[in-house]
Amino acid sequence: MKAMKDADVIIIGGGIMGCSIAWQLAKAGASVIVFERHDICSGSAGATDGVVGYHTKQPGPQMDLAVASIQMFPQLQKELGEQIEFDFTAGGLQPAEDELQWQILSEIAEKQRESGVDIRMIRTDEACALEPQLAHDIVGALYCPTSGKVNPMNLTMAFAGAARRHGAVFLTETEVTAILVKEGQAVGIRTSKGDFYADAVVNAAGSWAAQVAALPGAELPIPIVPKRGQLAVTEPVGFFMKATVQCALYNIIKFWPERVSDKRLLSLGASLSIEQTANGGMIIGCTRELVGFERHNSFEAMELITKRAMRFFPALEQVSVIRFFTGFRPTTPDGRPMLGEISRLPGFYMAAGHEGDGIALAPVTGKVLADLILEGHTDLNISAFDANRFF
């Protein structure tokens, strides 16, 4: 006989993924409990920028997934009933500093266009007309008019609030200590507040997903590691820029690291990503560093990030940084998230490993996981994100 269950689905992790999945499931009528060690939005979604861009996505399956996700954003603003500060007219720009970068970006853009997104190369005059503060000594830019931006903390809280209104329960300050398995199937979890049973258990623990998967009962070797991202936020200023701007190195480091000759830049994964928030402050990043869970800022990165910002936006010289901060990007060996059920542990689902694309991919991740758990399939082709591909 099956033990009495506490919910249809248990979600581990109250970050942007867990909250998005909880909302989709609860909206579809499932009972859900979210278990969170600290607090809602206490991890990476509260320690990042709000870029919701097509142009920073790996061409191919990741771009297709981004297209499906970003198309959900305009509707989210209405459905969640809260201000998520989504601006889908912002646009995304990637200035190139020389002809080589222009050439590389052109190749990337050509592949990205295969997913049906408007991404094109524009010359300096057009780029500077779009963003008058942009330095004029560039050779041009990659431009995606439909890339947007959002407030990731508001979005996470809005997912959680909407999930609660549909009956989802959030147990914060609750640590998961084991996965409960019966006859080879995940049937629940052991926590600091007792045992809980459900038909499905979802690992949405982000950068901590490997630790959750390694818990007694599951003992799965999930290859997700944290990459530290360092960012700065400035004092609020008047209107400064509309688009989110990533320098060409952002995509080159992400897709073709072998083409980067500067070893220091490469080891820090340092490039510029900048946007102005609804509040008026500029968020300036970023780095991608393999330093475990070390969460301090480094002087080296602070100097690099601010220099890089001034190189492209000289007028920032007299704008003050009020805070540096870091966040962890959950990274898989191929840069793509792990989505779906683990074959060797039925009932145990993965929804983690989105690296720096978590904010943009959160809506579709919620939908995909809810469809897989409730319907047993999803209409999207997610074979490139198979949770079993690493073992």
């Binding site: 600290h38 607090d39 809602i40 939005c41 206490s42 509260g46 903390m153 809280m157 959030f170 914060t172 300050e173 400035t234 004092e235 509040n279 800022n297 602070m302 100097e303 601010t306 220099k307 910002a309 001034m310 920032l316 010289e317 007299q318 704008v319 003050s320 940084v321 009020i322 805070r323 540096f324 901060f325």
Partner: protein
């Protein structure tokens, strides 16, 4: 006490908004910050951080000494971006 009183002056967050955030689940100063923006302004919570901690203690019944303060980050005071690029900061 007047619930409309500003606790975070930088971001104009009222006592009532902070109490609502605590009732919604915030148990740390950073938890209140992520829900209300209190502590995200120019002073980075130097003024309101302790007031927020006290409100959390009052509303949750936990001892003030156990309320986690905001996570302190550099810089201690606002620094112009241009300063980071100078070869000689004294010049």
């Amino acid at each position: 006490m007047n619930d409309d009183i500003l606790i975070c002056r930088c971001q104009e967050v009222t006592r009532q908004e902070i109490i609502d955030a605590i009732h919604e689940g915030a148990v740390t100063v950073d938890g209140v910050k992520r829900r209300t923006r209190a502590g995200m302004g120019l002073c980075q919570g130097k003024t309101c951080g302790r007031l927020v901690a006290r409100l959390i203690a009052e509303e949750t019944g936990r001892p003030l000494s156990e309320i986690e303060p905001q996570y302190a980050r550099m810089p201690v005071r606002p620094i112009e971006i241009g300063i980071f690029s100078r070869e000689d900061p004294e010049a």
